[in-house]
Every structure is written in structure tokens, then in C-alpha cells.
Point group: C2
Chain length 159, copies 2
Amino acid sequence: MILISMFILKTSLLEALIYLAISSKSAVNKQELRSTQTDDAQTCETHCLIDLGDFVEIAPKLLSMVKAQQMAELFGVLADPNRLRLLSALAASQELCVCDLAAALKMSESAVSHQLRLLRTMRLVSYRKAGRNVYYGLADSHIVNLYRSVAEHLDEVEV
Amino acid sequence: MILISMFILKTSLLEALIYLAISSKSAVNKQELRSTQTDDAQTCETHCLIDLGDFVEIAPKLLSMVKAQQMAELFGVLADPNRLRLLSALAASQELCVCDLAAALKMSESAVSHQLRLLRTMRLVSYRKAGRNVYYGLADSHIVNLYRSVAEHLDEVEV
DNA sequence: CAAATATATGAACATTTATTCATAGGTATA
DNA sequence: TATACCTATGAATAAATGTTCATATATTTG
């Protein structure tokens, strides 16, 4: 079971999803992790753990605040229907301009632009300016692959 | 490339993430997908697509509103740091009660209870009542597996 | 039975998020 | 150069989200 998921991760595109999560601004992580580890404040009198020693063991396995925040942000990008649809459009075509994306998704051009800015900030989309048009595409990023995997499978199952 | 991701999906836990996304309330999908296909409203005069025919081709590949919404909700569960930390705590131990979770994560018991309710609604956690305590654990869900994949890899990389 | 404990929940509040609206910047075309 | 077009962006508005606070329910213990 563990072996399987390890293997999957090695080959999978999910891999760098995680990479992204920790590579960006993880300078504070270590320090923060430690504090979470040692501090076992308790609000209730009687602990429910079968073995109280477990409490100490669990602490170091907890996601640190910083990591949790980063993972949450990552998943958060994919937690909006319109962003997913934007990605689906970009996955369907090589490049698309704001105007076409807006038309295809029936969103306002402003809304599209705003969301693209977010995706651009997260480095999920590529940006190419040509004349007065700006062409967006999927960046060579792993979240994109995650999305693709999910979307492909979605199609597969639906058929 | 496609082959690879197909294989991954077959074995992967991501698989049913998607399953979940479409299996629940996808009755409206077909109808909705069609409308998205045929309707190519255009807000801009000059399309940026190299080939205008692409526009028609892209439409059917777009995520439908319903699907996008379902996928977004799915990812949304994992888009909160405290929920991720709750999951990490439950992953570290077999079962934990509300009170211990609150203590371990330094959250109020109320906040924990609220979040657990959400996780319970999404069937991500198991619920076992014993006396006046309630023990929560990770359910055998695919979203949980997605989380696990990500979290495991996170550990791996950090070391 | 009364008091204490563990959990759940509704309401209020604060924060975040996504859209729209108005406007500005930059580019092509007349 | 003036005008039209595409995109970007700040501000405002609306909606969703998460926490706290107060309270309710249920169970155990004195």
C-alpha cells in the first residue's frame, strides 16, 4: 500500500505539487515545527487517548502551521469552479487570449483577467504578449498535470 | 505521456476523487454540457485563436459548470490549514477525541467540532461514540488518500 | 438527582474571496 | 494623431467561510 503510493508519487505529477508547496517560502518551517512539537497544551482534563504516550508521539507528525497553510493555498487554487474551467480551456487548446477565454466560459473579461492573474501568480499559466493580445497557456507545472489527470479521468469515467 | 497518466490514474487514489466528483449528482451534467458546447457567445470582435475552428473544438472539452463545481468543492475540503492539520493528526493516530484534537492543534473545541462536522459530512472521517467521548478517525475515502499522498511525499522531501 | 464533563450546534462576527464597475495603459488601425 | 480594441487593475459589493460565544444535549459521577 505504501509502496504503491510511493511509486505513484515518484512517477506522478502530484510530485511537484508538493514540491511547490514546500519550496516557495519554507524558511520558517523548521523553527515553527519545533514549537508545535514540544508544546502539548491540554484543554481537557481526562485525555481520551488509550495511551497518553501517544500524545507525545503524535505531535511531531502533525502538519506544521506553515506547511498546512501552504498546502491549503495549493488546494485552494483548485477549489474554484471558474479557475478549474479556465484550466480546462487552456488544457483543451495550446494558447488562448483573455477575450476568447471569457467568451468560451461566459465569464466577463474582467473576471477572467483577475483569475488569470491569480493563476499567473501561482505560476500555473504561461503568459505571452503578442500585439494587443495576451496569450495564456498552461505552465509546465505540476498542478496542471494534477488537473489534467483528474480531468482525463473524469472524462473516462463519464463515458 | 497520456499512457503514463492513465496508468497512474488506474492505480492511484486520485481515481475516486474524480469518481466522487461525478457520481453524486451528475444527472444534470449531460444537458448542461450540451448547452455549453453549442453556445459560443463572443464578447470580442476579433478572436485570438489561430484557427477559429478551434473554438468549436474546445467547447466540448470544457469542464461543465456542474462538474467544475463538484471538483471545486472536493478540493475545497483540503483548502483549509486547520482541516489539513486535523487530518494529519488523525493520520498520526488511529482515533482521537475532540478534546485531544483541540489540545494537540491548539484550536478551540468548538472550532474542532465544527470542522469535524464538515469532514463528517464529506465522509472523510469515521465517528465512534464511547461514553461521553466521540472518537474520530480517518475514513476510507479517496480525498483522504489524496491528502495522504501529498502529505507522505511532503515528509519524504523534507528529510 | 445534581453537578461535572464531552460534544454539538445556532447565531454573531470577522475575514476572505470573487465578481462587477469604472478606469487606465498599451497597441493597432484609420 | 485620434480612435478603437484588448488587457490589467483598484475599489466596491456581495457571498462564502471560519471562528468565537452562548447554549443545548447526553453521559458519567458524586
